[in-house]
């Protein structure tokens, strides 16, 4: 009976945390100028990214080091549509005019090799759908092969990392089609039903915040029920879950695809707040950063992962922008990662949870 009561304390507390977090996010733009609105929106996009990591890593033990690939694909899909929506890129994107053969036909069908692939992106809705579906499908293919071969643990990380490296190389190498290393930067603002989203205004900010809320709710819905329990079982002991009759491969494939879709979604929103897409988004260091955001906040906590992304980015940017800390800001950031891993292995959320768990039932040790 006492246990029940105490459990409620933690549950209530985390509910309060969720509500407080989103209430804060909703009122924040009233206190921010357009720069901080834009920066907050960008950091919240990183939060969505961290959410994706938390879902696959925290809940199912699948650590993808190629999350940047999905993020980048999402960014490119929407950026292609927004490139075509820019009047300067009509009827053919400038990047193709610069890279075409001198006598090529100036039409999207055939101005450069493969340029016809851009045709569907004339409709923005195609870009938006592709921004989620292409990463999902890509993840489905990669995941299918991996999980059918029963690849686990660090091998999954390495394989996804290698895929991201390949993706980055190919995009850079096909400059006439993709814009190459410099990426896509002359983009129109997103316009839906005549409403233009201003990257510096509250419109994008609220779009990002509401998307974040939607993703969290979706994730909680997916993970709090049966699926979440099975995934946790798989994380703890894959073989045992399999003996119990669960279709381990499909569960893993499912969460891997969802996580990729979330990363793609984040990539699209990144294109909106930052107005460009480039192969550097697929770089290994960026993928590792995402994992670090999730780890700092607490990999197995959705809200924790969000806060982790915000915190790491804030500390990084504030340290690099203050005259005192500028020479040593990477040391501060690096020290933070070491500190987190050594002192709070479950991240901020872990400490939050410990705080309540310990108070209620001091003798219970959380299984890790």
């Amino acid at each position: 009976m006492r246990m029940m009561e105490e459990r409620m304390t933690y549950r209530t507390a985390s509910l309060v945390a969720y509500v407080a977090f989103f209430a804060l996010l909703m009122v924040l733009p009233f206190f921010l100028n357009s720069f901080w609105t834009n920066r907050m929106a960008t950091y919240l996009v990183y939060s969505i990214c961290a959410l994706g990591i938390s879902m696959s890593w925290g809940y199912a033990g699948i650590l993808s080091l190629g999350q940047g690939l999905f993020f980048g694909m999402g960014a490119y899909m929407l950026a292609m549509s927004l490139t075509l929506a820019d009047p300067g890129n009509n009827p053919v994107p400038e990047l193709m005019l610069l890279n075409m053969e001198p006598d090529a036909v100036r039409d999207l069908c055939c101005v450069t090799t493969g340029s016809f692939l851009w045709i569907p992106f004339r409709w923005v809705i195609v870009g938006i759908l592709a921004g989620i579906l292409v990463p999902c499908i890509l993840a489905a293919v990669i995941g299918y092969v991996m999980f059918k071969r029963r690849t686990t643990g660090v091998y999954v990380s390495i394989i996804t990392l290698a895929f991201a490296l390949i993706g980055q190389l190919l995009i850079i190498n096909n400059q006439p089609l993709t814009g190459g290393f410099n990426g896509l930067a002359s983009l129109a603002s997103l316009e839906i039903f005549g409403f233009e989203f201003d990257p510096y205004g509250p419109s994008i900010y609220y779009l990002v915040t509401l998307t974040l809320l939607a993703v969290i709710l979706l994730a909680r819905y997916l993970l709090s029920g049966r699926v979440g329990q099975v995934l946790k079982a798989i994380r703890e002991d894959e073989a045992r879950a399999r003996y119990l009759g669960y279709d381990v491969e499909n569960y893993k494939l499912f969460i891997f695809c969802v996580s990729a879709g979330v990363a793609g979604l984040a990539g699209m929103l990144f294109t909106l707040t930052s107005e460009f897409a480039a192969p550097s988004l697929m770089a290994t260091s960026f993928s590792i950063s995402m994992v670090i955001w999730a780890a700092t906040g607490g990999r197995a906590s959705l809200l924790g992962a969000c806060i982790g992304a915000l915190l790491v980015n804030f500390i990084g940017s504030l340290a690099s922008e203050s005259a005192t800390f500028q020479p040593v800001w990477p040391i501060i950031l690096g020290g933070l990662f070491v500190f987190v891993v050594l002192v709070m292995p479950n991240g901020i959320a872990g400490i939050f949870k410990d705080f309540f768990d310990r108070r209620s039932a001091p003798r219970t040790v959380e299984g890790r």
């Binding site: 720069f35 190459g180 480039a278 020479p327 410990d354």
Partner: protein, 415 residues
């Protein structure tokens, strides 16, 4: 254990609260410009891969600003630099450019070194009406009205002089073009091929390597077996050093197989060790050895500022030019807003270390003096060829721009 955890929790939550609270504090702090100061942004990477070169550009920008302030500033106001570190990542360049333009409301950003970083900054300055003063020689193909391309060479200013020179003076006729895999080398290769066609020079190879790639063995043996008698290199960054060292290790000699580079500055030569570059050519508008009193005083000033063993190079000289030309335009306009600068900078000339630099009113690029240097044993370059007059910038020469048929005009680019 319990106590400790709880204490850590408190510590962390205080930290988090401080982190979230800081924005508004910062905002109040940063906004309070003194009335006799003009804030200007300086944005060169101090960490990450391109920090190697950009750190010296940062120092040079600060030196130029100090000099201007010592002369009394701009419009009677002191310039106050706000320094940002974009960590060699385009996405952070974009973020820092937003901070400078919107939050700090600087009328100008002196910054960027790579085109990828400029592309990430472009939407910010164009949509939020900022001004970027861009220093590096690059592939052209851009015609923004929010960028002042001060001192930055475009392909025609590095190639129109050098490729015919390789044919005429060195008697070479089979060119191998090699570059890193991105827009600059590809743009340079296109312009090179056009020039080669016009002067009847053969191109036997046009190859690219991933950026940052340092395994050159395959490429060098490919060059060797292609029958080329001269190499034109548009390789950048770390790869340069590995490339030159590999040529040496495979037994090539620049006297027999000359190499002309568009990118190898004094910095890279110092980095690889001058013996490896000895005898190779470079085509750029500025070398430390430019023999004028103006340049001597510039070199001395920079050495006094940054240390006796530092070298000056083309990108750094362009930074210096950029700061000064911007200040001249501001004085002429009586205003520092981007529109006022852009409206008044056209036609202005600055007596730069390399000689007279004039901003073209049509495309906001710079007339520069093309030069070819030959690397000597101390890591500097002997100037073996230079134009008597500055050459007009044609940023779209890769797609056929000529002095009579401009693609980039005040109205924008028409491809």
């Amino acid at each position: 254990m319990t106590k400790q955890t709880r204490r850590t929790f408190l510590k962390v939550s205080t930290l988090a609260a401080a982190g979230l609270a800081t924005p508004s504090i910062l905002r109040l702090g940063d906004r309070a410009w003194a009335a006799d100061e003009i804030p200007v942004g300086i944005m060169y990477s101090l960490t990450g891969t391109t920090a190697i070169v950009e750190k010296s550009m940062n120092q040079c920008a600060q030196m130029a600003i100090d000099e201007i302030n010592a002369r009394g500033g701009v419009l009677g106001k002191k310039l106050r630099p706000i320094i940002e570190d974009p960590a060699s990542e385009p996405r952070i360049y974009g973020e820092k450019a937003r901070k400078l333009t919107i939050e700090d409301q600087v009328p100008v950003i002196f910054g960027c070194y790579t085109t990828a970083s400029r592309k990430a900054v472009l939407p910010v300055v164009e949509k939020r009406n900022g001004l970027l003063v861009w220093p590096t020689w690059y592939e052209g193909e851009e015609c923004s009205k929010n960028v002042l391309y001060a001192g930055s060479a475009v392909p025609n200013q590095q190639l129109e002089n050098s490729i015919p020179w390789l044919q005429k003076k060195l008697g070479k006729n089979k060119l191998f073009i090699v570059g890193s895999d991105y827009a600059f080398p590809r743009g340079m290769a296109k312009t090179s091929k056009t020039i080669c066609q016009n002067i009847g020079m053969g191109v036997v190879g046009d190859e690219y390597l991933p950026l940052g790639h340092t395994e050159w063995a395959s490429m060098v043996s490919k060059i060797g077996s292609s029958g080329a008698d001269v190499i034109f290199s548009n390789v950048v960054g770390d790869s340069i050093v590995a490339f030159y060292r590999e040529l040496r290790n495979q037994g090539y000699d620049f006297e027999k197989l000359p190499l002309c580079s568009s990118t190898t500055t004094e910095v890279e030569i110092k980095a690889m060790g001058a013996e490896y570059a000895l005898g190779s050519y470079v085509s750029l508008p500025y070398f430390q050895t430019v023999d004028t009193p103006r340049n001597k005083s510039f070199v001395e000033a920079f050495k006094a500022y940054a240390g006796a063993d530092s070298v000056t190079h083309a990108a750094m000289e362009a930074v210096y030019t950029g700061v000064n030309i911007w200040a001249m335009a501001a004085e002429k306009a009586g205003d520092v807003t981007p529109e006022a600068i852009v409206a008044n900078v056209g036609g202005l000339s600055f007596d730069a270390p390399q000689g007279k630099i004039t901003i073209d009113p049509q495309n906001l690029h710079s007339s520069l003096t093309p030069r070819i240097g030959k690397t000597r044993a101390d890591g500097l370059l002997d100037i073996v060829d230079q134009y008597a007059e500055p050459l007009l910038p044609l940023p779209y020469s890769s797609v056929g721009e000529t002095a009579d048929k401009r693609i980039c005009t005040t109205a924008g680019a028409t491809l």
